[in-house]
Symmetry: C2
Subunit: 216 residues, 2 copies
């Protein structure tokens, strides 16, 4: 398997955690988003949307795109260990929590948005940083609101990690390592993040531990 | 069943189409997003994120949130007619296409973003409209890129409607009815939208046909 990704990409991080939890190995190909490599023709032939991650399967078939869709594919084809609960209501809750990060939070802070804010809107750096920090924390606060529910356990949903934890951790990486959010308002999210970081599948692919981060 | 939604909400529209395709009836409760009703305490008790849609099930259990998670729940509990293909690679493609709209496109144009652009960033109306139009069309162009793939048929994936078509149609409603995009660069997306609109489940809940739109 081959994963097109980038050390700083939180969506890439999600897929790497899911692969790790399922004990799968991949070859990584770095697409440097900060240098705009995603817009080169050879990568756009792989993914016309010009974003990472993209997973190329050993079993053939078209490239897989969108981190949530990739995680669902992994779950359907390699069910153990599961990253979704068995019951439909539990699956809906886990997917809902995951989507708060993956759909409502993260798309607001991607390179294309940062570029538009700088080049089209001519917003200065403090204003851009405030946006990045604000929306990253808003998503975490929305998740925190749901973590008061009785289904929350050691992790977001019960006592084993799910897609919700994977997306939560990506969001916390953004909040803490990139955008310097004050995370004091999301203690349950932070407790779960710390719990996840005890697991190699979560901690080893942490963006700040990747070679690209060291070189940056 | 009870659906908290709003006539103008594209995420609410998605869920209504999915319910319609599966022949399900719901009672609708309008949460006026333009008047900020989503921030009232009684609704935040239903959904702490203060967004719609939220689906309350007859079978009990916690409120379902996030349109993609709600559609997955409906698919798991009422499998016929299916809104996902059977094969994992096809399911991944459909979910990926759906997420381009639901995750990468739509979150950039929601009321909370429009409010922040106006009140925090003090951007004038033409600048805000340009943002809304730009990102709505960008998502459609990304989907259009994938629609060149051989899996595309009468609909986004083969010849029956899926979650991808549902999310595509919401995105086209945004592009055409709300943000006045020039959609000439996305002919396949528009062809599929027109095909979907021949189906009652897609056309009846169209936002512009709702009582709220008439009154607006």
């Amino acid at each position: 398997m081959k994963l097109y990704g980038f050390w700083r990409s939180l969506a890439t991080y999600r897929v790497k955690v899911a692969l790790g939890l399922k004990g799968m190995k991949v070859d990584e190909v770095s697409i440097d988003l900060l240098k705009g490599m995603q817009h080169q023709a050879d990568f756009k032939a792989v993914n016309p949307q010009a974003v990472v991650p993209v997973l190329i399967l050993d079993e053939g078939g078209p490239p897989l795109f969108q981190s949530m869709a990739i995680m669902e594919y992994l779950e359907e084809t390699r069910p153990q260990p599961a990253i979704l609960p068995k019951d439909p209501a539990g699956r809906a809750r886990v997917r809902g929590l995951a989507l708060i990060a993956a759909a409502d939070g993260h798309p607001l802070v991607t390179p294309r948005i940062r570029g538009y804010m700088e080049k089209e809107l001519k917003l200065d750096e403090p204003t851009r940083n405030k946006w990045l920090s604000h929306w990253t924390l808003e998503a975490l606060k929305a998740i925190e609101g749901h973590l008061k529910e009785k289904e929350t356990g050691k992790f977001c949903h019960g006592d084993s990690p799910t897609m919700a934890d994977i997306c939560l951790c990506g969001q916390v990486v953004g909040a803490t390592a990139y955008f310097k959010c004050d995370v004091s308002s999301v203690p349950t999210a932070m407790r779960i993040y710390e719990e996840c970081m005890k697991i190699d599948a979560f901690s080893k692919p942490h963006p700040m531990k990747q070679p690209g981060a060291q070189a940056h």
